[in-house]
């Protein structure tokens, strides 16, 4: 029984090239055909089908704009597919680390932000009280927890964000390029946490441009190219395939 199943999923976005609905633009467009607002229909994902079993760690690779983040957002049900269906196990709790620390309010303290952020992820007051000490300990920010977030460095923000997400105890973890910031020590700790998750039978979908990060977590790799799933299989073969396609694109 898979935990996630994508059935020929496509997602279309409208790109407004002359990004304005202003009357001025409409009026000018009426006079000058070339100044008319053009709406391009852009397929972020085309006919992607995937089955992911519990306990699997899937690495998603592909160039910028190939639809990796869109796929994560469809799995998280933030977006709805234009066609096809994304099905997720009924009781699975999804932890999305698509952008860490995004709900943080700069004026609030670290403590207040932990409570707000955990509430956004649907925890009740009691549950938040229970995980709070673990979050603070994991982030290593005991000393700064009553300081407004606006005084945090971006690395500290990131650590607090990851600490919250790691303690939400999700069944499916969606990670999008989260190791761009953070020192080596923190990255090391993230990796340990993720491997701990896998050992507990949780599912991870991991978007990264770093082959070493993918090697240390994933056994399976999917390659996306312009919204199409071009490879789905063994990790080393996938990374090789991805490098090959990049190289061949660069040659052209």
């Amino acid at each position: 029984m898979p935990v996630i199943e994508a059935q020929s999923v496509s997602k279309q976005f409208q790109l407004r090239h002359n990004a304005s609905v202003e009357l001025k633009v409409r009026f000018l467009g009426f006079l000058h055909p070339q100044k008319r607002q053009s709406i391009e229909l852009f397929w972020a994902l085309k006919n992607v089908s995937l089955r992911i079993d519990p306990g699997e760690a899937l690495g998603l690779v592909g160039r910028n704009g190939s639809g990796k983040s869109t796929l994560l957002k469809l799995i998280a049900a933030i977006h709805r597919p234009t066609s096809g269906r994304v099905l997720v196990a009924r009781d699975a709790r999804i932890g999305s680390m698509i952008e860490l620390g995004v709900g943080f309010q700069p004026e609030l303290t670290g403590r207040e932000n932990v409570f707000l952020s955990a509430a956004i992820h649907g925890l009740t007051r009691d549950q938040i009280e229970t995980i709070y000490p673990a979050v603070v300990a994991y982030s290593g920010l005991e000393h700064f927890i009553d300081v407004p977030i606006k005084n945090y460095s971006s690395g500290m923000n990131m650590r607090l964000g990851f600490a919250i997400a790691a303690n939400l105890d999700p069944d499916i973890l969606l990670l999008d390029e989260i190791f761009a910031v953070g020192d080596a020590d923190f990255q090391q700790r993230c990796m340990e946490t993720l491997n701990q998750f896998l050992a507990n039978g949780k599912t991870i979908i991991f978007v990264s441009h770093s082959p070493s990060a993918i090697r240390s977590i994933c056994r399976r790799v999917c390659v996306l190219d312009r919204g199409e799933l071009t490879f789905d299989g063994d990790m080393e073969e996938g990374l090789a395939f991805y490098h090959h396609t990049i190289a061949s694109k660069a040659d052209r």
């Binding site: 609905v21 933030i78 952008e99 995004v102 004026e107 609030l108 509430a119 009740t124 007051r125």
Partner: protein
């Protein structure tokens, strides 16, 4: 289950509602003792009005099989055009002898709300049924985006995320006065200063003599502020939280509803200070009608939540809403019986004033606390119609556009 009601059903329901609202418009216009003299004319003109409205609805293609996305706007324009046409026809044939012109305005407003409201309820029910069918089909794996898109799912979602709702309200209260010396006292100082300014202007400069003016003013000013600042804040509820919306899944309706509840919390805090103070100062003894206050406040909250959902959604697509709303709120303030009593309004305008959005609620508060009487049946009718209408339309607009909101913010 079709996504829109079939046309025979629509014509039938609209026809019934048109007859009811035409009668209700006269009821709103005239007190019971004078209503009797107008009734014969109401019955003779009613077929014309109903026929005109149904005809105009058909002409604006409100009954088309696949109405476009501006369906509800077509329904409203159909009702308004139909009312206008039938009033002109009646003026030309039988004349306005024994027929009220203002009642046509009320009829158009009431029928618009009724026609849009029942369609909204129909669509929301169709969605819930479609979801139930999907749910029954799959057992282990579920389509979460589909699951969230009904009123019932949003309601259970709001309950599951009650801690978030509470946190959002507390966060806004904390942030509003953080760093200021007087803190929460500003919540009291603001309405106090407003009341002082209006009292000076009206009692001492314009010399409008009225009994217990400050008490009267407080009863209108505070609920108005609750409504107006909810409306103003709700325009940013989705647009200003784009990052959050794009990265975490949660019931998004919580954001506009949260702004309404935040302003409710502020209103209750100030009202809890001002009301007892005024009751003591003017030595107003408590009375039984005052017990109705929670009922009308609940209606106002439902109404405000509906308006907040509509404004938050439309702002995503048209940022103009923010700027337009400022002007509309300024105009509405003077068209709402806050500084004056509905009874002071010239009789011809009275119906129009009593139909502005916040009128029924504020009139009710005046009745309950100032006159210590039961609110009239007409006030009940308008308050309930506005609350239900705004809520149904708000829920429908929000759910119908939720996917596109996510792509646009």
């Amino acid at each position: 289950m079709p996504r829109r009601p079939s046309w025979p059903l629509s014509v039938f329901v609209d026809g019934c509602l048109a007859a009811v609202t035409y009668f209700a418009a006269y009821w709103l216009r005239f007190p019971a003792d004078r209503l009797g003299t107008f009734l014969p004319k109401v019955w003779t003109t009613m077929p014309w009005v109903v026929a005109g409205q149904l005809g105009a609805l058909a002409a604006t293609r409100a009954y088309a099989r696949w109405p476009r996305i501006d369906w509800l706007a077509r329904v409203i324009s159909g009702v308004v055009a139909g009312t206008a046409v039938s009033s002109i026809v009646i003026a030309a044939t039988v004349g306005f002898e024994g027929v009220s012109r203002v009642a046509f305005v009320a009829d158009a407003v009431l029928l618009s709300i009724a026609a849009v409201g029942w369609r909204g309820a129909w669509v929301l029910r169709a969605r819930a049924r479609a979801r139930a069918a999907v749910r029954a089909a799959s057992d282990e794996l579920v389509d979460r985006a589909e699951e969230m898109a009904t009123v019932g799912a949003v309601a259970t979602g709001l309950y599951a995320y009650r801690e978030l709702l509470r946190s959002l309200v507390v966060k806004d209260l904390k942030l509003k006065y953080r760093g200021s010396v007087f803190g929460f006292l500003w919540s009291l100082a603001n309405p106090l200063l407003m009341i002082v300014v209006y009292t000076i202007a009206f009692s001492f400069i314009l010399r409008v003599r009225s009994e217990r003016f400050v008490y009267f003013l407080m009863l209108g000013q505070l609920p108005w502020t609750f409504f107006a600042s909810s409306a103003a804040m709700s325009t940013g509820a989705l647009v200003d939280n784009a990052g959050l919306l794009r990265s975490v899944l949660f019931p998004r309706a919580i954001l506009p509803i949260g702004t309404a509840l935040f302003n409710l919390a502020q209103f209750l805090l100030t009202f809890a200070v001002f009301l007892p103070a005024m009751l003591l100062w003017y030595r107003v003894p408590p009375s039984i009608p005052m017990a109705l206050f929670p009922v009308f406040l609940a209606l106002q909250v439902v109404f405000t939540i509906g308006i907040a959902l509509i404004l938050a959604t439309t702002t995503v697509f048209f940022r103009d809403v923010r700027h337009l709303l400022e002007i509309v709120l300024a105009a509405l303030f003077w068209m709402t019986p806050i500084l004056y009593d509905v009874e002071q309004v010239p009789e011809r305008l009275r119906l129009v004033i009593s139909l502005t959005p916040m009128s029924p609620f504020i009139t009710a508060y005046h009745k309950l606390f100032f006159y210590r009487e039961w609110p009239a049946g007409t006030v009940w009718l308008v308050a309930v119609a506005y609350a239900l209408g705004a809520f149904i339309v708000g829920a429908m607009v929000f759910l119908a556009y939720e996917d596109r909101i996510m792509e646009q913010v």
